[in-house]
């Protein structure tokens, strides 16, 4: 794939600067910060969080947002309304797993409420029926050459 800020081999050095130069080196579509610097080199700590996990700022978190900076602050700010981890990653141009790790931190700090789908949802009969009904109910005329 294309060149990327990524490919971090070693955990971030202390002086690396977690905010990085905003428009500095490697300012292509990805962050100039190497992905795992902002997590102090941690990866996979929150690998259990599915990509569709919903995160939303808590009132407490918004109230004390001044305590946060950079990516952590941006995540809380972006989550005034619930978003999936995948959407947060896109919005903030962060690596998905960086978002996972930071969301875990922010949950621990009570800045974010993290709603993980219950295990077993995928084979839940009621859920499947609701999704089927929901899909059937969507109007299919818009922008489509139509079907029904």
């Amino acid at each position: 794939m294309s060149k990327q800020g990524g490919r971090q081999q070693n955990p971030a050095g202390p002086a690396a600067g977690r905010d990085g130069a905003p428009q500095g080196a490697g300012a292509d579509r990805a962050s100039a910060v190497r992905p795992f610097m902002v997590t102090d080199g941690r990866v996979a700590a929150e690998a259990g969080l599915p990509v569709e996990t919903q995160v939303v700022a808590t009132a407490e978190g918004l109230g004390k947002i001044g305590a946060l900076a950079f990516e952590r602050r941006a995540i809380v700010e972006a989550c005034g309304a619930p978003l999936s981890l995948a959407e947060v990653a896109v919005k903030l141009r962060l690596h998905l797993n960086v978002v996972r790790v930071l969301a875990g931190d922010l949950r621990a700090g009570q800045f974010l409420a993290v709603h993980v789908p219950r295990a077993g949802t995928a084979s839940d009969i009621d859920v499947l029926r609701r999704v089927i009904d929901g899909l059937r109910a969507i109007p299919t005329s818009v922008g489509s050459r139509d079907a029904d």
Binding site: V43, A81, S84, H95, V142
Partner: protein, 210 residues
């Protein structure tokens, strides 16, 4: 979102009233997801785009992120840091239910990535170009092994089906229960119906297992 704010669920047992004006008291919807898989260029992203309520988004993810159990990046071999682009879209089915559609990166070398995205998915739609059937083998094998409900959908480019569905089914050698259908990735209704086929298959299995 829409209605008047009410106090947030006090997940953290602290008073929230002070901030309710600034915090939309939005209870997150139940997020569910489906996977749209298949070889390169078969129309996965097109299919996602046809039904998504947002322009499909692309996020960059890498295989390192799913090297679970490894908590030190320096221990992760180079080859596992390949960056892959993952497309996804979503559909709000009702205020309490949101369906995410993830297009898995095309090739089999992204096995780990697939696990990361497919875990917990309701089911998968394997998109096939019947002129290049081989391309979908990794996806079919993957979902069979994982035991995840899936359907094979032959994309009828320009309304043309180069091979009859029966021939495709035979070539893929999937069990009878696996639906093999044709669809048009550009057509919203067609993609929607294909997803319903996957879900009905998943539902039948869930009912049988209940």
């Amino acid at each position: 979102m829409d209605s008047a704010p009410s106090p947030l669920p006090s997940a953290h047992g602290m008073p929230t009233e002070v901030y309710t004006e600034t915090v939309p008291a939005t209870r997150p919807p139940l997020p569910v997801k489906m996977v749209v898989a298949g070889g390169f260029g078969v129309g996965k992203t097109t299919a996602v785009a046809s039904v998504s309520e947002i322009e499909p988004l692309t996020t960059e993810a890498s295989i390192t992120e799913v090297a679970s159990g490894v908590d030190d990046v320096s221990l992760t071999p180079n080859k596992t840091t390949t960056t892959v682009a993952m497309d996804f879209g979503c559909l709000t089915l009702d205020p309490t239910l949101k369906l995410y559609l993830f297009g898995t990166p095309g090739q089999d070398r992204f096995g780990f990535m697939w696990d990361d995205v497919t875990e917990g998915a309701l089911g998968a739609l394997v998109v096939v170009d019947s002129r290049r059937l081989d391309d979908c083998f990794p996806a079919v094998d993957y979902f069979e092994r994982k035991g995840m409900p899936f359907a094979v959908a032959v994309n009828t480019f320009d309304g043309e089906l180069t091979h009859p569905i029966d021939a495709v089914r035979e070539a893929l050698d999937v069990v009878d229960e696996v639906p093999v259908i044709s669809f048009d990735a550009r057509d919203q209704g067609s993609v929607r119906d294909s997803l319903v086929v996957v879900l009905e298959h998943a539902l039948a299995r869930a009912v049988a297992a209940a």
